[in-house]
Symmetry: C2
Subunit: 234 residues, 2 copies
C-alpha cells in the first residue's frame, strides 16, 4: 500500500477506486491460489469430486478478469490517469490476464485427476506434486510482492522461475523413460505430461506478473530483456 499516497489525488473518490481495483486483483489472486492448491490436491489424491470443483470454479476466475478489466477501462476514461496511476492500472490489467491463464492451468491439472487410469501412475504424480508445490509457493510470493508492490522481491522471484523450468525438464525426461519402458502406458503418461506442462506454465505466468510489478514501481518495461540488464535497472 506504500505506493498509494492518500493525499496525492484531489479526488478522494479516485483513490478509493484505485484501492478497490488493487483489492480486487488481490482477491482474484487469492482465488487462483486456492484453485491451484485444490487442483494439486485433487491430482495427488485422484479426487474426482475436488477436481470437478476446480473445473466448475474456473468461471469465477474468468468473471473476475472481465469485471476488473472493465473497471480499469472505466477508470482510464473517467479519471484520465497519468504517470504512476496509469502504470498501476496497466499493470493490473495485464496481471489479471496472467491470473486468468493460471486459472486455465488449474483446470488442466484438475482434468488429469479425472483420468482414473492415472491411479497406476501414482509414483509419477509425486514429482509433479513437488514441482506443483514449488509453483504454488512462487504464486503465493508473487501475490505478496504484488500486494506490497515490492520490485526487489519481484526481481528475485523472476530469477527463481529457472528452477521450476529445471524441475520440469527433469520430469519430462522421467516421463519419456517410463513411456519407453511401458508403451501401453503412453496415453496415461501423456495426461501426466500435460499436467506437468500446466504447472510449468504457472511459473511463467508468475514471472510475467513480476515484470508488471517492476514496470509499475520502476516505470520501466523489462519484458524480453536479460536478467543482467534487468538488474541494472535497479
Amino acid at each position: 500500500m506504500e505506493n498509494i499516497n492518500p493525499n496525492k489525488h484531489i479526488s478522494g473518490q479516485f483513490n478509493a477506486e484505485l484501492e478497490d481495483i488493487r483489492n480486487r486483483v488481490l482477491a482474484m489472486g487469492g482465488l487462483v491460489e486456492q484453485q491451484l492448491e485444490s487442483a494439486l490436491n485433487a491430482l495427488i489424491a485422484m479426487d474426482a469430486e475436488l477436481a470437478q470443483k476446480v473445473i466448475s470454479g474456473d468461471h469465477k476466475v474468468n468473471g473476475m478478469e472481465v469485471s476488473i478489466d472493465e473497471e480499469c477501462t472505466r477508470i482510464i476514461a473517467k479519471r484520465q490517469p497519468a504517470a504512476s496511476d496509469l502504470r498501476l492500472i496497466i499493470a493490473i490489467s495485464k496481471t489479471i490476464t496472467d491470473l486468468e491463464r493460471i486459472g486455465d492451468s488449474c483446470t488442466r491439472i484438475a482434468k488429469a485427476a479425472l483420468d482414473k487410469d492415472l491411479n497406476a501412475q501414482k509414483p509419477l504424480l509425486v514429482s509433479i506434486e513437488n514441482m506443483g508445490r514449488h509453483a504454488s509457493r512462487t504464486l503465493n510470493s508473487t501475490l505478496d510482492a504484488l500486494a506490497r508492490m515490492d520490485a526487489d522481491a519481484a526481481l528475485e522471484l523472476h530469477k527463481s522461475d529457472a528452477k521450476i523450468d529445471k524441475e520440469y525438464e527433469g520430469i519430462i525426461r522421467q516421463l519419456m523413460t517410463f513411456m519407453m519402458e511401458d508403451p501401453r502406458s503412453i496415453p496415461d503418461i501423456l495426461d501426466v505430461l500435460w499436467a506437468a506442462r500446466a504447472v510449468e506454465r504457472v511459473g511463467d505466468r508468475c514471472k510475467n506478473i513480476c515484470e508488471y510489478i517492476i514496470y509499475y514501481v520502476k516505470g520501466k518495461d523489462v519484458r524480453h530483456i536479460s536478467y543482467e540488464d534487468m538488474e541494472k535497472e535497479f
Copy 2:
C-alpha cells in the same frame, strides 16, 4: 480504416497517432505471419538455416511489442482518449501480446526443425504442415479482419478455431500410435508433439485477437462467453 473518421478529433495529430499504432500493429502482424510461414517451411524441409533465422528474428517481434505498448501508454496519458478511441488502444495493446506469443510459437516450431533425427519422422510432419497451413490462413484472415476492424469476419474466424483443435486432437492420437509402435522414437515424436501444440496455440491466439476486434467494434467484452451468446451480441 472505416472506423476512424478523420474529422472526428479536434486534434489532427491525435488521428495521426491512432493511425500510426494501427499501422504498427499490422506491420507486427505481417512480421509474425512471415515468421510462421518460415517456421513451417523450415520444419517441412528440415532446413536448419531457415529455422535459425526464425529463432534469431524473434527479438524483432518482441521489440515491436514493447515499443507499441509504450506508444499506447503514451497516447492514453497524453490524449486521454475515451469511448471507441480508448477501446482501440486497449484492443491494440492486447492484440500485440497475443502476436508476441504467436512469435514464441514460431520459435518453438523452428526449434523442432533443428532436431536432425526428425528427418526419420517426415511422414508425421506432413500432418503438422496441414494444420500449420490452416493456422497460417487463420492468422492471415485475422489480421485482415483487424485491418478492416470487421467484427462479422472476426466472429466467423472465432468459430473456425474449433477445426484447428480437431486437427490437433487427430495428430495427437496419431503421434500416440507411432510412439506405442516404436518406443525408441519417443524422444523425437515428443518434439513433433511440441511443434503440433505450438501450432494449435496459434489458433487460440487468433481467437483472442478476434475477441478484441469484436470488443472494439461492438464495445462488448466477449471473452469467456459461449458462441451462442456471442452471436446474440450481433
